[in-house]
Assembly symmetry: C2
């Protein structure tokens, strides 16, 4: 049974944290100088671990095992949010490195093929999950051409500045890989709340978005009588409040919805707004509540539009993400490893956040494990996990990968 | 009966429009170079009309009659909104000039004391109704010291740049003045909708404001279950919709309320907002519905806070403006003049917008007349009125001022 080295694991995690560190957080968005510095350092560490390492044309760092057979691919992403936490993504990359080292150091597993990867731009500076999309051949020319970051920088220019123009892009295949395993912090409070130390992901939830637009008439707030108003803000408040009142009737236990971005024009105290828009996002591990939400939205919008006054439109805000089921076989390896190292202290749960495993699962069997996030906090400088949870998660992953890749090669 | 000269009136209005013209609109905010150019031109025109003219230390242009007796003060303001219409304020100033000229040209009225004025900063670049506040002695050191425009310019610096530092400030007194009369565009659609050409203002409505703040907890929109959320935006939507549902039950026919400015933080599609704020403004000519609104707000906020979750605070957003009754005696002069020149085509109505007459009424009897705004539009480049309505309004004002000042001097 491969044994990870806790001090080596934590030292590498802390070194990666130092690249782009700001206070307790990390600022290392995809293709930034710090991101590329981190990727070059990872490539060296992968080579020191005995892997053939490459940075491909979108910035993915792939470490390939020289062992024969069907491999497991293990990893996550090392890019961060604009003001990110130190573990999100980075944890799963350093876990993969430590797992590769631990398997190589154990005679029983040294011959097993395990490749490791740091994927690029999971955090959507340009294209969410850019690296995993590129690996499975799902990155289209359209996605790339229009891609701008929030400051208006073109992806093409960021690639050139990072030294990646013309560098070949890697693809993965079902021939080489038996599956993909990703470890990640939970980014939510469920493990902490229930006193569990390992989460085994059953599904990555689906996500849909609707952009509402409200078109009324801008007017003076003193001289325009209520009966004449076509107040875009009033329609927004009503629609949003009715959604919040009606969705709970059809929601599942873990269905979530959010209306956290809106705009009201001209957004002045003394002016009746003539225009507003609002984003609604909703997620669940099954399609049924998402379909039910869309039906409710359609009914409310139709009813409000029938009254006249403000004209409301509702359009899909983005390509929907379908719920993704993790692979039962690969998940069983993770569960057995969790029960071995954390008996009674692990649980199954869906992932409310999206991950590269959701992209790669379109091509390969995929599995994920979570470790607890302190206070459920992520995407924030305050993001953290306990050292003993970090160590435990890596040991569970090492065992799960060892048994998974052995099984894939008929050696279990 | 004094007769105004329509061509002279329209020519002066158009000349004033040319100072700071942008397309169909005018950009002449208080103390800007164009505003001061307009004020110097007005001073000249006041002098040509036989008045002793002064620009005082806050930019008011006062033209004093040399006739003895108790005077009427007539005028409005020539500063504009940042992107203003051509008539708002300017109409009442040029009306005053034309009325002074018409009275001077008629033997029966040439000896009557009528002073005219262009007030400063009615449109709140620094202090709303600065000029009229200063004239009645209501401008405090506190108002001036903290005054910044929306670009952060200090009022003190703007005064200096306009050449007004150290220039004496005028005061008006009850000894000299029997009253103040202001003409203005309606800035609303009531006259146009009812086919009337003159509005006689009964009241200037009162205005109160409440700033709501919502403090919750910012979270990830995928991993934070609904039961754990403290979503500032959801509380905002509920409160705003309940206000819009409950206010109509206690509102008067012309009570208005508006929630046109809000902020949600961080205003991102995938983040549960941790903070929001919202402005509520409400106006009526009587205090009763305003009091009833405050009671409803207090009840809803108390009820929502009792639930826990998001903490809501409600605080007065600004000093309230009390409803102001126009003077019955002075109003009767306006009504008689309206009936003479527009029989059956005038009406009484409250002013939904605030005006300098609301400030000056604290010291002097005040009256206002309105002419129709095309489409009810104001504070917009598209603001306009028909030439024949402009001419009619000025003739009504001239008659009203002539009879009003005659009565004040025992000559009616």
């Amino acid at each position: 049974m491969p044994a990870i080295q806790p001090e080596r694991l934590l030292a590498d995690l802390r070194h990666l944290r130092s690249i782009g560190a700001q206070g307790r957080g990390v600022v290392r968005p995809a293709f930034s100088a710090k991101d590329m510095e981190a990727r070059r350092w990872l490539k060296e560490r992968f080579e020191v671990a005995g892997l053939d390492a490459t940075i491909d044309g979108v910035g993915n760092v792939l470490g390939r095992s020289r062992n024969a057979g069907r491999a497991l691919l293990v990893g996550s992403h090392s890019d961060t949010q604009p003001t990110g936490g130190w573990l999100d993504g980075a944890l799963g990359v350093i876990y993969a490195l430590e797992v590769a080292r631990a398997l190589a150091a154990d005679a029983a597993t040294a011959g097993l093929p395990v490749d490791i990867v740091s994927l690029q731009d999971e955090e959507s500076r340009f294209v969410g999950c850019l690296g995993s999309r590129s690996l499975i051949g799902g990155l289209t020319a359209e996605m790339e051409q229009g891609a701008l970051d929030k400051d208006g920088v073109r992806m093409e220019d960021a690639l050139r500045a990072a030294g990646l123009a013309g560098v070949p892009r890697l693809r993965i295949s079902r021939e080489r890989y038996a599956g993909f395993v990703e470890a990640h912090i939970e980014q939510g409070p469920t493990l902490e709340d229930t006193g569990k130390r390992i989460g085994v992901v059953t599904d990555i939830v689906g996500l849909r978005g609707i952009r509402f637009e409200f078109r009324g008439q801008q007017n003076h707030a003193g001289t325009t009588m209520m009966s004449r108003r076509r107040d875009a803000s009033g329609a927004l408040y009503e629609l949003a409040h009715r959604i919040n009142s009606e969705f709970p009737k059809v929601a599942g236990e873990r269905t979530v919805w959010t209306m956290g971005r809106l705009k009201v024009e001209p957004n002045a105290t003394s002016i009746v707004p003539g225009y507003a828009d609002l984003d609604l996002q909703f997620r669940d591990a099954s399609e049924a509540p998402l379909d039910a939400f869309e039906a409710i939205v359609e009914r409310i919008v139709t009813e409000m539009n029938a009254r006249g006054g403000v004209a409301i439109t509702a359009a899909p805000a983005r390509a929907p993400i379908r719920p993704t089921r993790m692979d039962d076989g690969l998940r069983a390896h993770v569960e057995r490893a969790a029960e071995r190292h954390a008996p009674g202290q692990w649980m199954r749960l869906p992932s409310g956040a999206f991950h590269d495993a959701g992209i790669i699962s379109a091509m390969l069997p995929a599995a994920m494990l979570f470790i607890p996030s302190i206070g459920g906090i992520s995407h924030d400088f305050a993001e953290d996990s306990r050292d003993d949870d970090i160590v435990l998660g890596c040991q569970v992953l090492a065992d799960a990968v060892a048994s998974g890749v052995a099984a894939a090669n008929g050696r279990d």
